[in-house]
């Protein structure tokens, strides 16, 4: 039990079932060596590949004679691990600190309208105020209005493009006859199938994969894109990746219900923010990873300015592979809205022939327009 407790503190989801399994396993296979004990415990307790590393670390710390290693993940302070899910104090801190930010973003007129005295009250805004904010470039927005616009964007994502699945559901307008309900219905008419029940294919939201650049050249847009990624994750069940020099998967972090918590976790997760950019390398890494299969038939959205330190030939190769897997590729470029913009950056020029759309993405109004293009 103490060992499982330690594993849980190290972030492994080992519950009562797993502990029971371990006890049974030790009954049927008494550990004759540390090696055997390792495999018994690993098979009984670990349920996913991502947890293997943490398990190995804890196991070594407990059963080797070495001094115990720090058992927590880097991002979470050791003593606070169990409190990580409590959103309330976290949220309150955030909101009360909103007035006295240590840096000099003077909250303009819009932020003054915020009811900062009570953090629990939902701020009421007129649509027009949000519409005006949406026209501002990302760098001129403060975190609160960013969050509000993020929510507005999420609310506007109502009819996401769908795809036909191989699953069928009963529908009067369907063409296929659903045998089981038809026979069940025939019971009422002395087993004469008078009413024929029909079925049609179920439609699902098309899977979306969002790949966002968070390098130095995209610093102004990074926070806004995080909100966009969260909106897509929640509405369209999208897979979300951020990259600068290496690729980070943000889907689990952004799927949290609380916006503040999701943002904090996502920010912690990305280790290489505001570094250089290697778009082609990261696209190839995504294609090669086991997440590469989620790209099949998906709506792929790349958000980047196209400044790439990899050679354009690599970009062409990566985009060609992506093109063969994806249903549609949309490139969001924050510079594309500027007057006189031409995709002359080498990386962007190399990627352009493989994109279905190149859309500007410098303001929330742009993002909303991009969503309209996608759902058209």
């Amino acid at each position: 039990m103490a060992f499982v407790g330690r594993l849980r503190r190290a972030g492994l989801a080992a519950g009562v079932t797993e502990t029971g399994d371990l006890v049974h396993a030790l009954e049927v296979s008494p550990p004759v060596s540390v090696e055997a004990l390792y495999w018994t415990a690993r098979v009984a307790l670990v349920r996913r590949q991502a947890d293997l590393e943490a398990f190995d670390r804890v196991f070594r710390a407990v059963f080797d004679e070495a001094p115990p290693l720090p058992l927590t993940r880097g991002a979470v302070p050791p003593s606070k691990r169990d409190d990580a899910h409590l959103a309330v104090p976290h949220g309150v801190d955030e909101t009360t600190a909103g007035g006295g930010l240590p840096w000099a973003t003077l909250p303009p007129a819009v932020a003054a309208a915020e009811p900062t005295d009570s953090p629990l009250q939902t701020p009421e805004r007129r649509p027009s105020a949000l519409a005006a904010l949406a026209e501002l470039p990302f760098e001129e927005l403060d975190p609160l209005s960013l969050a509000a616009l993020g929510d507005a964007l999420r609310a506007s994502l109502t009819d996401w493009p769908t795809r036909r699945t191989r699953r069928h559901a009963v529908d009067a307008a369907g063409r296929r006859i659903a045998l089981r309900p038809t026979i069940a219905r025939a019971r009422r008419t002395a087993w004469e199938p008078v009413t024929v029940v029909r079925q049609r294919p179920v439609r699902r939201p098309r899977r979306a994969v969002l790949i966002c650049d968070v390098s130095e050249s995209m610093r102004a847009q990074a926070a806004a894109y995080l909100h966009m990624m969260r909106a897509f994750t929640l509405v369209a069940d999208a897979e979300v990746f951020a990259f600068a020099t290496t690729l980070t998967r943000l889907t689990p972090a952004l799927r949290r219900t609380s916006a503040d918590e999701a943002m904090a976790h996502a920010t912690d997760a990305v280790g290489d923010r505001f570094g250089g950019t290697r778009i082609a390398t990261n696209l190839t890494a995504l294609l090669d990873s086991h997440h590469g299969n989620t790209l099949r038939g998906a709506l792929v959205i790349v958000a980047s300015d196209g400044w790439d330190s990899d050679p354009p030939a690599r970009m062409t190769a990566a985009m060609a592979r992506l093109r063969r897997r994806a249903h549609q590729i949309v490139w969001l470029n924050p510079r594309a809205g500027a007057p006189g913009f031409a995709p002359k950056v080498a990386g962007m020029a190399a990627a352009l022939p493989f994109c279905d759309h190149l859309l500007p993405a410098a303001t929330f109004a742009d993002l909303a327009a991009a969503v309209r293009v996608l759902t058209r």
Binding site: A13, H24, L52, T165, N293
Partner: protein, 286 residues
Amino acid sequence: MNSPDDVRQQLDAVDYLVDDGLAMAVFLALRLGKPLLLEGEPGVGKTAAAKALAAALNTDFIRLQCYEGLTAGEALYEWNYQRQLLAIRLAEARQEKIGDADLFTAEFLQERPILRAVRYEGRTPPVLLIDEIDRADDEFEALLFEFLGEAAITVPELGTFTAVRPPIVVLTSNRSRELHDALRRRCLYHWIEFPPPSFAAEIVRRTVPGAAAPLIRSATEFIGRARRLELDKAPGLAETIDWVSALTALGVTDLVAADVVSTIGTIAKTPDDRLAVARLATEEPS
């Protein structure tokens, strides 16, 4: 099988080699009566593990290949509607009355793989392989919970079938989709690593009996080097076995660059990979 070593020996007898981890996983799955979830990169021998287990236990092997839209009708059971309709017509002709109970009985039930495994009447329970579970959708995973947890299937019209001897269940996944935690909780888990070259060579030697020893050694070494390249699809163990079989069929006993190029289709599966592997073969003669 009463110890991990015993598992290893019995699987060894049917030419499937396992390392300590897989031996322990199989042993515990058998002893605890829990399903075993195997993950690992494609071509590392997940499906073969289930087949070998069935062969070693000398029992039936039942396979369910998953795909999107898989329903109870294809995986668990289906009513035989044609026979039901015929029974209705027959009853009409004889001017008999039929009730619900007459139409939904075991004789009109068609078994699909999972129900077949539950109702299996043999001395040793069968091995049921649920292959590539990640290809099915969430709804199908939910359908499996009762079976994986209790080895039982409920047919609403008829009642619950519970297995007398719970089948040995092996699930495999290629991680193209995250499986639900509820599914993982019900299974034991093992991640199959790609074996080190010496172990891979031993596996190839057992699977391709006619191959020459130097050929196997140099081929597994070459595959080890090729896996370090940036390939679209890194060659797995299945490709290695295919390749050595191809080379053996051509009568090759020692690997040279020309042979690699002529049989490249067995290990490189995209145009880009062909180029990369051919370059590796020509620049480093093995």
